[in-house]
């Protein structure tokens, strides 16, 4: 079973040379720490920066240079700043190659819910609806089940949707799954996790059509 860093580490393997990547808040943010050093990747933040670098050294924070999580950041050589309309032109126009974000629920048809729980304070969708409606390559990073132990991989989402039929891949603490026309196809197991455990934790249709290898992270 993986922890959050494990999930981030596994997802980092999906990041290929030459990719522009948008990372959501939470586990996705950790992915940047595990991307191989020998490939070229640029991180986009929807508030208007491409080519984000690490956090600044203490004392070098600049209030005018933040990421979408409102954290102070730095930029790398080749970076650029731009306005919000241009930022979403990058996203909507499919210039960003990979979007990694968290979710509360994913359905077997690729629907995703990650912005609203009825009855609770709703903070908003931020850029998530633009990201999921536009990206060709969306990976969801999340725990397989919620705190109450209930599956987050469902036949149908119960929460208000963020986008429809858009999720392509899911990496959880238990498994790597692909969203196919037939349902969640199990691609890999987390170290030490059996197919049986994954089956029990998955409410939506799970397809196990071959020997499922253990992740190599």
């Amino acid at each position: 079973m993986l922890d959050k860093n494990g999930i981030a580490k596994r997802i980092a393997k999906e990041v290929k040379d030459g990719y522009y990547v948008n990372l959501g808040i939470g586990i996705p943010t950790l992915v940047a720490n595990y991307v191989r050093n020998d490939i070229s990747v640029e991180f986009q933040s929807e508030n208007g920066v491409l080519g984000m670098g690490p956090f600044p050294f203490e004392g070098q924070e600049d209030a005018d240079i933040i990421n979408a999580g409102k954290q102070t950041i730095t930029t790398l050589p080749g970076a650029s700043f731009f306005d919000s309309a241009t930022s979403f032109a990058m996203i909507r126009g499919r210039h960003v190659d990979l979007t990694i974000l968290g979710a509360m629920e994913v359905a077997e048809n690729g629907d995703i819910a990650n912005w609203k729980i009825p009855g609770k304070m709703v903070k908003g969708m931020g850029g998530a609806m633009d990201l999921v409606a536009s990206a060709e390559n969306i990976i969801v990073a999340m725990m397989h089940t919620n705190r109450a132990g209930k599956s987050k991989l469902l036949k149908k989402c119960t929460l208000p949707l963020t986008g429809v039929g858009c999720v392509k891949k899911i990496v959880t603490n238990l498994a790597v799954l692909e969203v196919t026309n037939e349902g969640f196809k199990l691609l890999e197991r987390a170290p030490g996790v059996t197919v049986e455990v994954i089956k029990r934790a998955t409410e939506g249709r799970l397809i196990v059509d071959r020997e499922v290898p253990e992740m190599n992270i």
Binding site: F55, F57, D64, N67, I73, F81, D130
Partner: protein, 233 residues
């Protein structure tokens, strides 16, 4: 050269009235029109409709207007870093219209550029699209979204000149350029106001034609919301 300078924030906000629709630039607390917000507080205008990506924190940014109960409705993509916001929203005192961030930016740009409406994929199949027209183009579904209509737009830039030309710094640019010229009157506040001719015409982010009034802000606190650093070693 058409001069856009006004002497101070009081002159810059002349004409702002109760019940108006305002656009306010910024992302989180980054690049927000601090001086215009302070003056809105001082003016005690109320019943405001505010178009702004976020709603500030309890004691800074739009949070100051919320504390003062001057806002009737927020049109934003992400809110609630702010207890008073949450209280007012849950009690029904404050209306909130949540809009996907890219749609929010483009509704501003459409107003600026004279487009009445546009089709975007964001929000299709979600409650954001409820009651809105949807349409297929090339096998993909889109939602028809309308341009904003606003009375004033308050933006904050790094440098500006007498002609209203603006230059932004870092990610403090964000929504500010899209909001210029997107309301009937655009008021720009800048950290440094320079004479016309001081800025390279190639380096201007927003041409002065989109700005009606410009002034140098008295003071910028530029509060940091999430100070994150890494150790030196």
């Amino acid at each position: 050269m058409i001069r856009k300078t006004v002497d101070n924030v009081q002159d810059a906000l002349k004409g702002v009235k109760d019940g108006m629709t305002l656009m306010l630039g910024g992302f989180g607390l980054c690049g927000i029109p601090e001086n215009a917000i302070s003056e809105l507080v001082r003016l005690q205008v109320s019943g405001l409709y505010c178009i702004s990506n976020n709603a500030g924190v309890d004691d800074f940014g739009l949070g100051l207007l919320l504390q003062n109960k001057q806002i009737k409705k927020m049109i934003s993509s992400y809110v609630g870093e702010n207890d008073e916001f949450e209280r007012q929203m849950l009690s029904g005192e404050l209306e909130v219209e949540l809009t996907p961030q890219g749609t929010l930016a483009e509704k501003c740009r459409a107003a600026q550029a004279g487009f009445p409406a546009f089709y975007t994929p964001a929000g299709y199949g979600t409650e954001v699209a409820e009651g809105k027209e949807t349409r297929e183009f090339n096998g993909k579904m889109y939602v028809l979204e309308k341009a904003f209509e606003a009375d004033f737009s308050f933006v904050k830039a790094w440098k500006g000149d007498e002609a209203g030309n603006l230059i932004f710094k870092g990610t403090a640019r964000n929504f500010n350029p899209c909001m210029c010229g997107a309301a009937k009157i655009t008021v720009a506040e800048v950290e440094e106001l320079v004479p016309a001719g001081s800025l390279d015409p190639n380096e201007i982010h927003v041409p002065g034609i989109f700005v009606q009034r410009i002034f140098q802000g008295e003071k910028y606190e530029k509060r940091i919301e999430q100070r994150t650093v890494r150790p030196r070693n």
